[in-house]
Symmetry: C2
């Protein structure tokens, strides 16, 4: 994409109404726009990154057999009354609204109730199990704390996966598969080194659950690393004894639900015709929180530093008064399938470099006087100070690695 066409612009100054690092940098770089506290729009660069993250998650969910669906935000009261989760005393994050005819509706903050209800029509025999279903769907949560940028918002896309098994043993096997998939996701998103599978409370569903916690100064949780090599930790909420605590952000969680949401109506008959409730699990990742965490953890004083797999573009091609030759290289890179942001704007080098550092695309390729003199590109990785002189062919070979 040509940067001269991009409708967003970078800002030198932090927005006055933001305190979190992720919101400040993402706003300055033109990735997001704030509609109100805890509610953000994704602008072209931000949506590209969000889509990259969702693409990684989707691939890993498909690999473990997840079937993708898309459920509604609008929720019928009756379904949630059965489990006691309609009441505002029990669930304090509902946004509620109503139909013109008067019936009260909720805006889903999760989907255990409607998905169990929906599946009653499809599950009857043990032969129908196991399977798992996931979606990327906008959740609504009426948060009172909404000062963490895109890490805790009132409206956000969540990847929620639900599993349906014959029994606890079958469930445990799938639960382990999800844990491995989650590790792969956080690794691909560039957070593998700092993310720990953390034993935590199971809330109202089970005794324990697992969270994936990324060590981060702005995190709201406290964890203690119990095994650095295996990347294991424990959440302070369930720990006994005197441990060393670090702040961390919960980037994912996996829950054993048991039969809480399948009871009474989501049942299957076993080989002997006996009815049992389906054994369930649920597994969440908030893609935007993951984007926010990447910014919190990996940025530097100049701006954002995107890992390759989640960057909005792979290459930032910066032309310094060389638009004619740069145009040719831009076309070559595009033809090779490389995603390029082409800074073809009429600005000084210093401004272009500052924008490039702020936006944080992994590889910056400058076409300046080294090119006009000896056809060499100046190639610099965002997370390194080294500038390498390369021919276009060598750059392409490097990008293919």
């Amino acid at each position: 994409m040509r940067q001269s066409q991009l409708f967003t612009k970078t800002r030198r100054e932090a927005p006055a109404d933001e305190v979190s690092k992720n919101a400040i940098l993402l706003t300055r770089a033109g990735f997001i726009n704030k509609e109100m506290a805890g509610v953000y729009d994704f602008l072209p660069l931000g949506l590209r990154t969000l889509n990259k993250v969702m693409g990684i998650i989707r691939e890993e969910m498909n690999k473990i057999g997840g079937q993708e669906i898309f459920m509604s935000s609008l929720q019928r009261k009756e379904l949630w009354e059965r489990t006691g989760r309609w009441n505002d005393q029990n669930v304090d994050v509902w946004f509620k609204t109503h139909l013109k005819e008067g019936a009260e509706l909720g805006l889903g903050f999760t989907h255990e109730e409607p998905i169990s209800n929906m599946l009653e029509q499809f599950v009857s025999s043990h032969k129908d199990l196991p399977f798992s279903v996931y979606q990327f769907q906008n959740k609504f949560r009426n948060e009172t704390r909404a000062k963490s940028g895109i890490m805790r918002t009132r409206e956000f896309i969540m990847k929620d996966l639900y599993s349906f098994s014959l029994n606890e043993a079958e469930h445990e096997a799938f639960y382990s598969k999800v844990a491995e998939a989650y590790k792969t996701i956080f690794k691909r998103a560039g957070l593998g080194d700092k993310t720990y599978m953390t034993r935590a409370s199971g809330g109202s569903f089970s005794k324990f659950s697992h969270e994936f916690q990324t060590v981060c100064e702005s995190g709201e949780d406290l964890i203690s690393i119990t095994n650095e090599e295996n990347k294991e930790a424990i959440n302070k909420e369930i720990a006994e004894g005197d441990l060393e605590w670090q702040k961390a952000v919960e980037v994912g969680n996996i829950f054993t639900l048991g039969t809480k949401f399948s009871d009474p109506d989501l049942k299957f008959k076993d080989e002997n015709g006996e009815a049992h409730n389906v054994f369930m699990g649920s597994y969440g990742i908030g893609p935007a929180r993951l984007v926010g965490t990447i910014v919190e953890v990996l940025s530097d004083e100049k701006g954002i530093v995107w890992p390759k797999e989640v960057a909005p573009f792979r290459v930032h091609l910066v032309s310094l008064n060389q638009n004619e030759v740069a145009e040719g290289i831009y076309k070559t890179l595009n033809a090779e399938g490389v995603e390029v942001l082409f800074d073809d704007r009429d600005l000084r080098a210093g401004e272009k470099f500052a924008d490039s550092d702020l936006i944080g695309i992994p590889t910056r390729v400058v076409i300046g006087k080294n090119y006009s003199e000896n056809q060499m590109l100046e190639v610099k990785e965002r997370n390194s100070e080294e500038v390498r002189m390369m021919s276009t062919e060598d750059l392409l070979a490097d990008l293919r690695k």
Copy 2:
């Protein structure tokens, strides 16, 4: 995908609570699930089709330079009060809710107000124009009529494109480009023959607008074809005189907004430093309504007939007690990049064929006794009665066409 793994099942009977053909067929075939009147979930087959439709629209929007974003559903009251569209007397489709702190919020039914507001930070000079921005975003409309299946719902993804031009002439040029893109979209979605660019009322924005209307018995509009060759029509709401009317479904619309939403704050300075309001247009397509219209218009007594570009899969591979060889052909097709639903279930041929007709995948490939005897596949297009005997190589060549 293996059909034995798909969690949905087909139904022989129409659901008791549906009257529209699209909802009946899509429910029977396992594409959608009804949460309540006018609110549907998309199940794996349905989501695949919806994604195909969105993919076509996205490609055509990108071709005309549209920049994709993703805005919030939650809307601040103040923005809509300025244009008079907060009031329920003026806009009768709002779903409203409120923050815990008490402030009233709306759930966006469209996005002219927030997008104009958001763009004030990016537009200042004539050099910033023109550009266009689009999104696929969940809209909420508190409809009292919600009996048309997925063609008129209370919650739906809409592709809304907004254009920002210097003046009316520049706007008109882009408006024509969008009209051409829309024609391409409806053609690719299989509705080209029955879809007419229709002059209609401009509502409160302008004297006229254009709708894209697909001739369809269950449509809520009446149009008269004014030029069959050029696919032009007029909506009864603005027609004078005695014409012949046909029922039609509005599958898209394009509006000249002028400066209604840019006034007073979305301005640019011209070469002389003089300020002007940006000239806007808005352009909508509801992907789910398009899916519903395809079902209404193209299905037959046996089920759905998907056009190739929007089908959930390209090939329905049906094994009749030949799972071992079918497995090999399934792998070959997958390796060639063909999207295949593989009916590996242990059912009678008649049931498999009935399901295949109901689901409506364009090409059915049967592996039965013709295969065991002479390695020939029985290939039948969903919209034809002819059965062709083909080798796997010939099938692949045929699919590549």
